[in-house]
Amino acid sequence: MPKSKIDWSPANWPRLLFRFFSSYGLAAVVLVFLTIITLFGTYYQVDNGLIAAKRKYFTSWFLIHEFFGKFPVPLPGGLLLMLILFINMTIGAVIKVRKRWRGIGLLISHFGMLMLLAGGFVTFAFATDGNMTLYQGMKSSQVQSYRKWQIEVRPVIGENKAEKAWVIPSEALEKLDPNEGKTYDLPDLPFDVRVSQYYKNANAVPTSAPVSANAPGKEIDGFKLLQQELFTEAERNIPGCVAEFVGEDGEKAETILWGYSSKFLPDEKPMPFIFEMGGNKYAALITKKTWSVPFEVQLDKFIFEKHPGTQMARNFESRVTRMESDQPEKKVEIKMNEPMRYAGFTFFQESYGPPNAPIEEMFSQFAVAENPADQWPLWALVITGIGLAIHFVISLMEYSKKSRSNRAKS
C-alpha cells in the first residue's frame, strides 16, 4: 500500500469511514476481541452460570471484565463485535472486493458467513424457547418460558376462573431497582399497581422465624419477602415482589407475590392472590410467561430406558398425538435427536421428571422452540462449503496453469 497523506477534511469523512469499516485490520482486530471475550465468557460461566455469561459477554454492547477478579478492563461486547464484523464483511468482502472470477469462491463463502451471523441476530431478536410438560394422557397447547417471570392481574369470573390477564412483562420487572418501586397503569382496569421489593430470587418467610423477623422489608399477612442469592443456573431462581393495588377512589390492597404460588407440576393449578376492587374480584400472581402453539399435543406414552444395570439414560422418548381443529390427528414419536417439527415450532425431548421418578408418576418435558432462522445455519454452511470448494478448485487450476507455463518457459 503506498503511503499517501490522508485527507482529513470533513467532506472526506464518509470515505475514510468506509475505508475503516472495510479494512482487513478491522476484521483482524474484531476477531481478536471476539476470541478474547469468548475466552473470558467461558471462564466467567464456571462461577456465574451460562445466562449471566451470555448477558455480560456475548449479547452485550460493552462490558467491564475484571482481570483476575480485580483489575477492571473495558471491552467491547459480543453483540457489538458481531455487528461490526457483519458490517466489515458486508463492505469489505462483498461490496468493496474486486469482482473477478478468481475471487468468486471467497465471495460466496463470505455470503455464507454473513448469513450465519444474520441468522444469529434473527435468533437473538425473534426466537422463543420454552417448554411443555405433560403427564401421560394429558394434552396441552401451552408453552412455558424457562426463566421469564411476569406479573399477571386477572379479573375473576365466578369463583376461580379468569379469561384475560393484564401482564407486566419480565423485561420491565428485571430492570426494577428492588429499593425503589414503580407504578404501572393497567389500561381499562380501575386501579394501578405499584411493584416494589422485586427480587429475582426471593423467599417468603413467616415473621415467626427469627431470620425473617430481623430482616428488612415490609411485613404483610405475617410474611416478609427476603432476598436470596442468585443461582448460577438462572432457571432455579424464584422471584417475588410486594404489590400494592390502588384504586381510583383510594381503595387499597397489598400483598407479597411469590413465584412459589405458581405451578410446578404439569397438572398443578396456580394459587393467585385474590382481592376486591370497585366491587369486582381480581387475581394477581407472579408466574412464568406462557404462550401457545396453534395445535395441541397429547402425551400417549412416555418410555424411559437405562443401560442395563446402570443409571445411564439410554433412551427416552414420548409418543404423542398432535391435534388440530381442521386436521386429522397425527401420531408422532419424539425422542433424543428426533424432534417434531411442525408449523414453525420444534418439539424436542428435553427431560423428564419428577426427580424421584419412577417412584412418583413420570412426566415428559419437551423443549419448544420457534426460530424463523431455524435452518439458516445449515444453508449458510452449504453456501460456505460450496464457496470454499470453488475457491480451492480455482486456486488449483491457477497453479497448474502457472506451473505449465513455467515448464513451457524452461
Binding site: F21, I87, K96, N160
Partner: protein, 215 residues
C-alpha cells in the same frame, strides 16, 4: 466505489434509527382454556405452600424440647403408633415406630451449611445405594414445609447402609427433609423397611407439619 459507500451510509443510517425505544408496557392477553382455572388459597400460608398449622394437629399435646433454659423451644407432635426414644447425640428429636422399633425418625441440626444441600441429599442417596443427583436435579426435588420454610424432600428406596455389603438392609425406604441456608442446616430423616415406611408416610407428614419453634 462511490455506489458502494452510499450503500454503506444508508445501512449505517438504518441501523442507527432502528435503535432506541422502550416497549415494556402493560399488555393484555387471553388465557388458554387450560390456564383459566386457578386454585383458591385459604390463606397466605397456603398460597406460599406452607402447610397450615391448624390442620395438622392430631389431638396430641405439643411436645416441647428445651434447647436452652428460657430459650426457644422445639415443639412437635408424636404421631399415632410412634414412640419417643431418648435423645441421642446430634439428635434433637428421636422417634421410633414399627413393632420392634425398626423404623426411626429423627431431627438433627448442623451449624453452617452442613456441606450444602446437594452434598446432604446425595449423602442420603448414597446410604440407600442410589446414584447421586446432579445439582439441577437436586434443585428440582419436591419441597415440603419445615418450620414454615420450603425444605427439600428426599424419598429413596433401596438397600440401606453397610460398607462391604454384609450389614446391608435390603429393601428399605428413606424419607428426608433438608433445610439449609448459610446460617445452618436442619435435617429430618425417617428410615425403615419399605413396607413399614409406606404405612407411616402420613405420620411422617404429620410429624413434620407439627414441628415448630416456640420463642
Amino acid at each position: 466505489m462511490k455506489s458502494s459507500y452510499t450503500i454503506f451510509c444508508l445501512a449505517a443510517a438504518a441501523i442507527l434509527t432502528s435503535c432506541g425505544g422502550d416497549k415494556a408496557a402493560v399488555s393484555v392477553r387471553d388465557l388458554l382454556p387450560e390456564e383459566q382455572e386457578f386454585k383458591l388459597a385459604k390463606s397466605t400460608t397456603e398460597r406460599f405452600r406452607y402447610a397450615a398449622r391448624e390442620t395438622s394437629g392430631s389431638g396430641h399435646e405439643g411436645h416441647a424440647h428445651a434447647t436452652k433454659e428460657g430459650g426457644p423451644q422445639l415443639i412437635h407432635d408424636i404421631p399415632e403408633g410412634w414412640t419417643e426414644k431418648p435423645a441421642a447425640m446430634m439428635r434433637d428429636v428421636n422417634l421410633a415406630f414399627g413393632e420392634n422399633g425398626e423404623g426411626e425418625c429423627y431431627l438433627s441440626r448442623l451449624p453452617g451449611a452442613g456441606g450444602g444441600l446437594e452434598a446432604n441429599v446425595n449423602r442420603w442417596r448414597k446410604q440407600m445405594g442410589a446414584e447421586p443427583l446432579t445439582p439441577e436435579a437436586v434443585q428440582k426435588l419436591p419441597k415440603k414445609t419445615l418450620f414454615g420454610q420450603p425444605a427439600t424432600f428426599v424419598d429413596v428406596s433401596g438397600d440401606y447402609g453397610g460398607m462391604s455389603g454384609t450389614e446391608g438392609k435390603k429393601n428399605y425406604r428413606m424419607l428426608g427433609l433438608v433445610l439449609s441456608n448459610s446460617a445452618g442446616a436442619v435435617f429430618v430423616k425417617l428410615i425403615g423397611p419399605k413396607a413399614l415406611v409406606d404405612a407411616n408416610e402420613k405420620q411422617f407428614n404429620q410429624f413434620v407439619d407439627s414441628l415448630d419453634v416456640k420463642l
